[in-house]
Each structure stands twice: as C-alpha cells, then as structure tokens.
C-alpha cells in the first residue's frame, strides 16, 4: 500500500470537490444551537448600538472565515448596528476593508466613520486586548488610513469595551477567541460571539457551554448555517456541497485504507502459518 501512487487520491478529491462547485447539489443545511446562539445574541442588539468586530485572520484562512465575516456584517448592518473593526493579525486589515466595502458601502449604503470604522492592525496580542478593554482611542489613536479616531462620529461616546454591546471575533488561531475570552470576557464581562476555523472549534466549545461565548460558528459549516439564518446564501452555502462530498471521500479513503490494512495483516498471518 505504501507504493500506491497518491496522485490518484489527489485526482479523486479534485474531481469530487470540483463537481458540486460547477453543478450545485443544494443539500439542506441544518442550523446548530451554537450558531443559532450567535444569531439570536446579535439579533437582540438594539439599532444604533456599537459592536467591536475583532478580525483576527489572514488570507490563509480566508476561504473558511471570510464568509462568516460577510454573513455577520450583513446581519449587523441590516439592523443598523455600528461596527468598530480592529485586527490583531497583520494580514487582516485589507480583508476587513474589503468586507466593509462589499457589505456596508455597496449593499447598505453605510458611511465610513459614521456607521463603521477600520482601526487597522496593532501588534501586542493579549496586551492590546487588555488595553482595548481600558481605552480603545489610546490603543488605536488613528485608524487604518492614519486618520485620528477622535474625528469619527462612530467613535463618539466609545472609550472602552464597556461602551460596546458585543465583541464579534473571527479567529484563525493565536491571538484569537481563546485570548479574547481569557483576557477580555473574564475581566470586562462583555458578550463575545466567535467564528473560528473548524479545526479550532472543539477548543472553544467549553467557552460556549460555560456562557463565556454567546455563540460559536465553526468553519465553513458554521458560516453556511449563519448565511441560512440571515437569508443571504453566499460562498459558504455553495461550498457546503463540495465539503459534504469531500468528507464522504475522506471517509471512503479511511475505510478502504483499513480494509487494505486488514487484508495485508491477514495475508501476513497466513504466510507465517
């Protein structure tokens, strides 16, 4: 089996993932209680309130996490909630900017500085989180473009995280949801909703169960479920068919691999006899 050319496996995966992207199957999406928790919490935020949107990912996780950003921003702006975006990953500010332009400006006609602001990136990880908890303007004196944040109407009345209704964190790893809960939620008691990669979601389940997270979106599936709740199907919904077939293919490979293993083991035993 070690001599099996793995390029055949690559070819099967390529075809199986490509097929539903060209011809969507439209498989029904079931919404989990973790995703519904995030949706309900965001839905309850009164219009005009402010949310801190912590965009902590880079292009490596963009296919999995960007659909969550788009879906949640759709929900927030459709409810006229104002968004203050900040990043602890150096690659994140242009992604947040792209999402703001796509959703806030093009779709809902929102104005930069009035309805939303992109504070950009600040190095310092947990130190920045705690510092934001004390004072957002002293941690981010200027936005992504270098304009002093005091000039933006959206920042009026916002000093610390106590002045925002919720933190929404889209997290690809460190620093991310775990640190937001440990450093900010436990200290300032602000509600946090998290969207994270599928591989890191199991790590955050205890935080959801303990109530430290109001909701949890795990991977592309979580994004697709949120898209279903907001009623705006996007790339995550389209990707779920491909992911379904991809998972099925991997399961078939696990079964086949084990059947070969058992066959070879039996053959070895027979040979020894």
């Amino acid at each position: 089996m070690e001599r099996f050319d793995r390029r055949y496996i690559f070819l099967v995966i390529f075809v199986i993932v490509l097929f539903p992207l060209i011809w969507p199957l439209g498989l029904p999406i079931r919404v989990s209680k973790e995703v519904r928790g995030a949706y309900v919490a965001i839905d309850k935020i009164p219009p005009g309130s402010k949310v801190y949107f912590a965009c902590d990912y880079d292009p490596g996780s963009m296919p999995e996490l960007h659909p969550m950003t788009i879906a949640i921003l759709n929900h927030l702006f459709s409810h006229n909630v104002k968004v203050i975006g900040g990043c602890l990953w150096p690659g994140a500010p242009p992604l947040l900017e792209e999402a703001f332009n796509k959703v806030a400006v093009e779709k809902y006609g929102k104005k930069y500085g009035v309805d939303f602001v992109n504070l950009g990136y600040k190095e310092g990880r947990e130190v920045v989180m705690v510092s934001i908890g004390r004072s957002i303007p002293s941690t981010f004196p200027a936005d992504f473009y270098g304009t002093p944040v005091s000039k933006f109407p959206v920042m009026q009345g916002v000093n610390s995280l106590s002045d925002v209704a919720m933190i929404v964190n889209i997290s690809a790893g460190y620093p991310g949801t775990k640190e937001w809960v440990q450093q900010v939620q436990s200290r300032y008691h602000v509600a946090i909703a998290s969207g994270c990669t599928a591989v890191s979601a199991p790590e955050y389940y205890p935080y959801y169960q303990s109530g430290q997270l109001v909701g949890l979106l795990g991977g592309l599936a979580g994004a697709a479920e949120y898209e279903k709740l907001v009623g705006i199907p996007g790339t995550a919904t389209r990707g779920m068919d491909a992911q379904s077939l991809g998972h099925l293919a991997i399961i078939v490979f696990i079964v086949l691999g084990n059947l070969f293993y058992l066959y070879l083991k039996k053959k070895g035993k027979l040979a020894r006899r």
Binding site: M1, E2, F4, R6, I9, F10, I13, F14, V17, L27, P28, R30, S32, D58, P59, G60, S61, M62, P63, G91, P94, L95, E97, E98, N101, K122, E123, G124, R125, V128, S131, R134, S135, S138, F144, Y145, R187, A198, P202, E203, Y205, P206, Q209, G218, A221, M240, D241, Q243, S244, G246, H247, L248, I250, I251, F253, I254, L256, G257, N258, Y261
Partner: protein, 206 residues
C-alpha cells in the same frame, strides 16, 4: 548585577500586573495602562528586527550559496517591493500595495490552504489505521463527526448530527476541559516561578 536587575524588574512589574487584575483603583489601572502602552511600543520594534533578520539570513544564504539559495531573491525582492509601495503610496483602498495584497498574496495563501484537503485525504488512506481499540474508537468518532458536520450526514441518517453533537458536547468537552484546566494550572505555576525568580530561562545565555 547582570542577572539580578532583570530579575528585580520582572518581579516588580509581574507582581504589579497581577495586582492590576484584581484592584480596579484608578491609580493602579492608570499605571497598568501606561505599562501596556510601553509593551505595545516595545513589541512593535520586533517587526523592525524581523525585517533586519530576514535580510541578514537571506543575504548569508546567497553569499554562501546554501541550499535553495536562488529562492532568497524573490523573497527579498517581494519584501523590498511591498515595503516600498506601502511607504510611498500607502496601504489603503485602491493602492498598489492593496492590489498586490488582495490579488496576489491572498490567492496564493488560499491555494496553500486548499492543498490541505489533498494531503488529508492521502493521510486518511495511508495512516488512519485501526490498530487497537483506542484507534478504532478514534476513527469511528472522527467519521461520525465528519458526517455530522455536513448536510450529507443528516441525509444518510438523521441521527448522525445528534450523535455528532453528543460527541462534541460530552466526551470531547470533558477531555478539553481537563486539558485546559491542567494547562492553566501549569501557566499559573510558571508565571509565579518567573515572578519569584525561580524560572530564569527567559534571561537566556549562561
């Protein structure tokens, strides 16, 4: 004194940050905020050091003709190019920096990420063996969770998502909590050892 002074500084400021967490008095929190601003400024210098380090190591590889040395040229050229266009024309919307970021860097990173699917499939076939009861349990749980997380699982059997949720919310969560509590106790213990000067590895050197 070369070691004692850093140890005293660590003990004073480390203890202060612990006090800052529990004492909400404005004097304490004001000083705590100032310390955090210092930390943010100091950490920012790490980027300058990082750039200098990449330039130095890549330069050495080129001059010594080390393994894969030609790849250092695009690395250095990319670094210099993005730095130059970012400093001259800015990094905001409709800038050359942003265009290269969104239309070159992003797709390349996405491509690297997507390759995982191929390697996971290959690894599943070649390495996921049910050699023992524990390994079999792991494989069965993995299959159920993989199916439960995608729409096709419920189509095969409507109980698969329910079982998948139970695996995630009960055994997985119990194990995760145990690991987290253990790791947290370890972190507290290490923190105390650093503050008290028992753990000195962070000082480096002799």
């Amino acid at each position: 004194m070369k070691r004692e002074i850093p140890l005293i500084i660590t003990a004073i400021f480390g203890s202060f940050m612990v006090i800052d967490y529990f004492v909400p008095h404005p004097t304490v929190s004001g000083f705590g905020e100032m310390l955090q601003q210092w930390a943010i400024i100091v950490v920012a210098f790490a980027y300058v050091l990082g750039v200098a380090n990449i330039a130095r190591i890549s330069g050495q590889k080129i001059t010594r003709r080390s393994r894969d040395w030609p790849y250092q040229f695009p690395l250095l050229a990319g670094l210099a190019f993005m730095l130059t266009v970012g400093i001259i024309w800015g990094v905001g919307e409709r800038t050359l920096f942003n265009d290269f970021y969104l239309y070159a860097y992003s797709p390349m990173q996405g491509t690297m990420f997507s390759l995982l699917a191929f390697f996971i499939a290959s690894a599943a076939f070649r390495a996921f063996r049910m050699r023992s009861f524990g390994a079999a349990l792991l494989a069965i749980a993995a299959v159920i969770v993989m199916l439960g997380r995608v729409p096709v699982g419920a189509m095969i059997w409507d109980k698969i998502p329910v079982i998948s949720d139970w695996i995630m919310n009960v055994p997985q969560m119990a194990a995760k909590r145990a690991i987290m509590i253990g790791a947290s106790l370890g972190a507290i213990s290490t923190g105390l050892k650093v503050i008290l000067g028992i753990e000195r590895n962070y000082l480096g050197g002799d």
